[in-house]
Amino acid sequence: MQSIITVENVSKQYRLGTRDASYGTLRDSIVRSIRAPFSKSQSKKGNGVETIWALKDVGFEVKPGEVVGIIGRNGAGKSTLLKILARIVEPTTGNIKLYGRVGSLLEVGTGFHPELSGRENIYLNGAILGMKRAEIERKFDEIVAFAEIEKFIDTPVKHYSSGMYMRLAFAVAAHLEPEILIVDEVLAVGDAGFQKKCLEKMRDVGEHGRTVLFVSHNMSAITRLCKRAILLGDGQVLADGTAHKVASSYLNSGLGTTAVREWQDLEKAPGNDIVRLYAIRVVDEDGQLTDVVDIRKPIGLEMEYAVLNPYHILVPNYHFYTEEGVCAFVAQELDEHWRTTPRPLGRYKSTVWVPGNFLSEGTMIVGAAISTMDPVTIHFHEQDAVAFQVVDSLDGNSSRGDYAGHMPGVVRPMLQWHTEYHVKEN
């Protein structure tokens, strides 16, 4: 079958120095052009600006109807590739051929204006995304119904809750019907229920034969939506194959999430004049920092903090969320001594151990807090402080057993089974 997308030797170079001072001044340019004819060495020096290749010789093909995930850690070149495909920036070399209309969704709600009503923003945003007016009119009711904002359609969107805003924004985007759809991590927003709806809508898109390129950190979304995935690293294609394989090799390479957050400046750290946070770390059994954990192994979460006022009973606690925003559980310190005793001044490190064979596979996002229970006071609550990936093996000795497919659920415990067997006696 002929490819609908052909990417050949695409490279993109950025100049480092000039990126820093993201824009020049007229004076600089004038001075440079005056100097240039007189001092050749000067201009040569200017050409030696440090450059980086955000993408280097990237090439792949996509067949019509394929849904391809693009993964890689920050700075791997995902966004650059996406921006080139969406024609926002030009490649330095190479070429791309697209045999169909392209719609790109690098953000939802692009061009939304807070003063305009939901109705007006649907038209505006639709036009920005490349929809024809007649097309928007035809789909208008469907968009409003999808966003569940019928009552507020004529209210300026600045009065919307952030959830309503995102729903409307995504609703418009979800009704875009190009032959090729390029999607950035727009699913990282909204409440869990709506996210599910969005994922389903995207699945629909794929099933209706559209070609989709989907960039995400959300491995479960990638493996669920895409048959194929491309792993980028340092601007190059590191792996290209079935989504499950590429996603697991990505996770095993430890390129994923933030295992540590540290605050150098205590003034800016989360906290108040009673307690301040120094650091949050995800560690493995040996106390080593890690952001990828085998599902069978325990995971430690370290919280380092300073007590600045010695008259409070303090309870460190963690909130564990899945990538879909579902709270898996909350854990708080239950130490008999500290439950009843105010903590003296000093620097502390509290660690909680989440046992192996407990969490499900996927990303866990952890919020950290320290509270006092009586009266209930939250000294700080640092949401999304750290994150780590739990990976399941296919060795057969985790709770997955010999099943290799998708296993739903927030937890994946190893449970005791007991089967009784009676020989049937005739």
Binding site: M1, Q2, I4, Y14, S22, Y23, G24, T25, L26, S29, P64, G65, V67, K83, I84, A86, R87, I88, V89, E90, P91, T92, T93, G94, N95, I96, K97, L98, Y99, G100, R101, V102, S104, L106, E107, T110, G111, H113, E115, L116, E120, Y123, L124, A127, I128, G130, K132, P156, E179, G206, E207, H208, G209, R224, L225, C226, K227, T242, G405, H406
Partner: protein, 292 residues
């Protein structure tokens, strides 16, 4: 659980089995100089319409008086200048009531100065669009200029009212008025595109524009007739493309003789600016997303 991954590509009946023989879009590093892609701009005409509409709508949405401001601004300026220049300083006004004289000049001037001020910063102000969605960037400053034209049209209604009040009759010269509006728009587009494109890379431009506007206000016969300028400096006056527009607008409205020399100079400069700005814009366009 059924997953997408289980679907074979191309299995669905909706898949276009036959792809177009030529790519719909081809992406590669562009050559340095490109001609305007008019076909593409035409394809995006609805976006131009919506962005213009947004500019107009947003501008007056949260103001109490809304569209009244469009009328009030030139009217207030007219009243003030009529008192100061007309009554106190006694600036001549080519035998027209000074209020009418100044209002007719103010409309194109205000359109032009607003157009270049707003379109100058339009691209930088639309960074969120430029870094997220592709469309011909030309649409952004163009929409700003066009939304100014809407304000202008409203003011023209007031001008007609004033003309009736002062009993200035219409004449065949009025036929030139639409031509001058087109000319004025082309000139504003040309300048606006130049300034907006330069402003992406050199933020100095934004600082320069208010100064440009101030110079333009004095160099254009808005508050005074160009006949006030001594004969030997007339040529300098006429090199300002706005002179041809402002003076000839009055000629068209008030049945005076046209100054074809200044008109032709205006046309020449406006076309030159539009064409050159289109090229410069296309050349700089591809790096907008990197700089904005």
């Amino acid at each position: 659980m059924e997953t997408l991954a289980e679907l074979e590509p191309g299995k669905s009946p909706d898949v276009p089995q036959v792809l177009p023989p030529e790519p719909v879009v081809e992406i590669k590093a562009s050559r340095t100089w490109l001609a305007l892609n008019l076909k593409e701009i035409w394809a995006y005409r609805e976006l131009l319409y919506f962005l213009t509409w947004r500019d107009v709508k947003v501008r007056y949405k949260q103001t109490l008086l809304g569209v009244v401001w469009v009328v009030l601004q030139p009217l207030m300026t007219m009243v003030i200048t009529t008192i100061f220049f007309g009554k106190i300083v006694r600036v001549p006004s080519d035998n027209l009531p000074y209020a009418l004289f100044v209002f007719a000049g103010l409309l194109p001037w205000m359109f032009f100065s607003k157009a270049i001020t707003q379109s100058g910063s339009s691209l930088v102000g639309s960074a969120n669009l430029i870094t997220k969605v592709y469309f011909p960037r030309l649409i952004i400053p163009s929409a700003t200029v066009l939304s100014g034209l809407v304000d202008y049209a409203v003011s023209v209604v007031v001008l007609i009212g004033l003309m009736i009040y002062y009993g200035v009759g219409a004449s065949v010269h009025l036929l030139m008025f639409p031509v001058l509006i087109v000319l004025m728009t082309i000139l504003a587009l040309g300048v606006g595109m130049w300034l907006s494109a330069l402003n992406v890379k050199y933020r100095d431009v934004a600082a320069m524009i208010p100064f440009l506007v101030q110079v333009g206000m004095f160099a254009t016969p808005v508050y005074y007739p160009s006949s006030l300028i001594p004969e030997k400096w007339q040529w300098l006056m006429k090199l300002n493309p706005l002179t041809g527009i402002v003076e000839n607008s009055r000629a068209a409205l008030f049945n005076r003789p046209f100054d074809w020399l200044s008109f032709n100079i205006s046309v020449g400069i406006a076309v030159l600016l539009l064409v050159s700005s289109a090229y410069v814009f296309r050349r700089m366009e591809k790096s907008f997303a990197d700089f904005v």
